[in-house]
Amino acid sequence: MKYVRLLIVTVVLMSFGLNAYGEKIIVEGSTTVLPIAQKAAEVFMKNNPKANISVRGGGSGVGIASLIDGNCDIADSSRPIKPSELEKAIARGKDIKAHVIAMDGIAVIVHPNNKIKGLTKKQIKDIYTGKISNWSQVGGDNQKIVVVSRDSASGTFEAFGELVLDKEKVRPDAIMQASNQAVVSVVAKTNGAIGYVGLGYIEPSVKALEINGVMPSKEAVLTEKYPVARPLFMYTNGTPQGLVKEFIDFIKSAQGQRLVDEDGFVALK
């Protein structure tokens, strides 16, 4: 009996000890930011074995709602917080702070033989929604446009849908590819194809188009001249402290931004 009691006491003490030992934070939200947050958390935890960071997807709205309810410490978001969400946060006595951690830029690509140099955002929208279906309608050769899109669950698809298509539906007969890489390889092999990929995936085998007269590049994204780009956010409750601050500082650091770059996003520096 004595031993059993001793055992229980030891276990309880040990679990207290574990709690005090590692601080735990939860990061939740946008699936676009998810790969950055995940990779950053892995590297961060490797460098700081005591830290415990759990990263979840769910979508920007889910993350922000969770932050307001106090269920997570950092909310990932691929859009600015909405006024309605901000009001709810204030009503709950939360002080939401925004941190831009990276930029997301999307390039529109065509086959290198295509003589088109650039399109307007409106033209791209019409091509993707099916109003324009031949390159001759936008000043190119008389050739059917083969529309290549990302799968509807992907973050790039979501961003493209918001930034270019104004949430209108992509024509149903568009070719859907499961990765940025697959879009590049289909466009590189198909004469009449048009596709879109994250800025980091542009290759010599395809031609990136000017949009509204601006060539996609990191500078153009960072100076906000390029129209198909958006900032990616992490939101916190109040000024970050402790592990939350360390983690966000890490993502903004040179090492963290290198991870951003590796994932095909635009690093801030």
């Binding site: 083969v146 859907m176 289909v186 194809a193």
Partner: protein, 298 residues
């Protein structure tokens, strides 16, 4: 128990092996349970009929549309196309192996066919993407070579060894006496083949075809890589389509856990599960009947 128990060790072994044997039942039960648990909630949002007959698959828009008719028809189309490739090839090569090839030839060819069956499907997919798709695109001057035709062709080639191997087994089960009796009546080789051997092995061959079909319906990698993935109701073999397995594979990775879209993908999986289940049951019952007919049942 057929053998006497000698002690603890024996009992232990028996228990270990029966647990192993029942584990597949356990896994099957688990899979079915999870499929239904995760798939059924979508039918609170869309009724089953709308789900199956809806013409538009826009799962991530607001409001979403969950119509899987284009996906089902695409699976059907690609399977049908693949059957046109795999049935003549598979059955033809089985007939050759069984009836014409010499013993040595048969031994070598059969192991070659089995090697073909071992090649992972992603390699077939690579072959399709790197060689077949650009080739078709140039040959037929298509806007894109990623279409139902490419997927059907590669799937057909892929399912050929399965069909060939099972059909060959069925042919080899036909008792020698049947053939000898036919020859004795003065029938030539062709007549014997068409009038005696094929009818006798008929149900075995049908089950080979159905098992080949069930492999094709469930195949994912090839259709994901080659079919193009456009969720439209198929109109021609030379346009991109999106079979159900490709839709699940492409979308499952990035879908928000617990969302309607997530449940819808599981619901699609339930339907796929039933399709292949029915195929396998049919194949099994046909081949059992056939064994009974030939007096081979045990």
């Amino acid at each position: 128990m057929k053998f006497p128990m000698k002690g603890f060790k024996e009992k232990l072994y028996i228990n270990i092996f029966s647990i192993l044997a029942f584990s597949s039942l356990f896994f099957l039960g688990g899979i079915v349970f999870v499929l239904f648990k995760e798939g059924l909630p979508i039918f609170k949002k869309v009724n089953f009929f709308e789900f199956v007959s809806g013409r538009f698959w826009y799962p991530t828009y607001d409001p979403p549309e969950f119509g899987i008719l284009p996906l089902l028809l695409a699976s059907f189309q690609v399977t049908l196309g693949a059957m046109f490739v795999c049935v003549p090839l598979g059955i033809g090569s089985a007939l050759y192996l069984n009836e014409i090839a010499s013993f040595k030839q048969r031994k070598i060819m059969k192991s070659l066919v089995e090697i073909l069956a071992m090649i992972p499907s992603i390699i077939y997919g690579f072959f399709g993407i790197a060689i077949l798709v650009p080739f078709l695109q140039n040959l037929l001057n298509l806007p894109t070579g990623l279409c139902a035709f490419s997927a059907s062709l590669v799937l057909g080639i892929m399912a050929t060894p399965t069909a060939c191997s099972i059909a060959e087994d069925a042919l080899s089960y036909v008792p020698r006496s049947f053939k000898e009796a036919s020859f004795a009546l003065g029938a030539n080789r062709w007549q014997t083949l068409v009038k005696v051997v094929i009818p006798a092995a008929g149900s075995g061959i049908s089950s080979a075809v159905i098992l080949g079909m069930s492999r094709i319906v469930g195949e994912t990698m090839v259709v994901l890589m080659l079919a193009g993935g456009a969720a439209v109701i198929p109109k021609s073999f030379f346009e991109p389509v999106r079979p159900i397995t490709a839709a699940i594979a492409a979308e499952m990775g990035e879908v928000a856990l617990g969302s309607d879209h997530y449940h819808a993908l599981f619901a699609i999986a339930i339907i796929l599960f039933f399709i292949t289940f029915v195929f396998n049951v049919i194949a099994e019952s046909i081949s059992r009947k056939y064994r009974l007919k030939l007096g081979l049942a045990q």
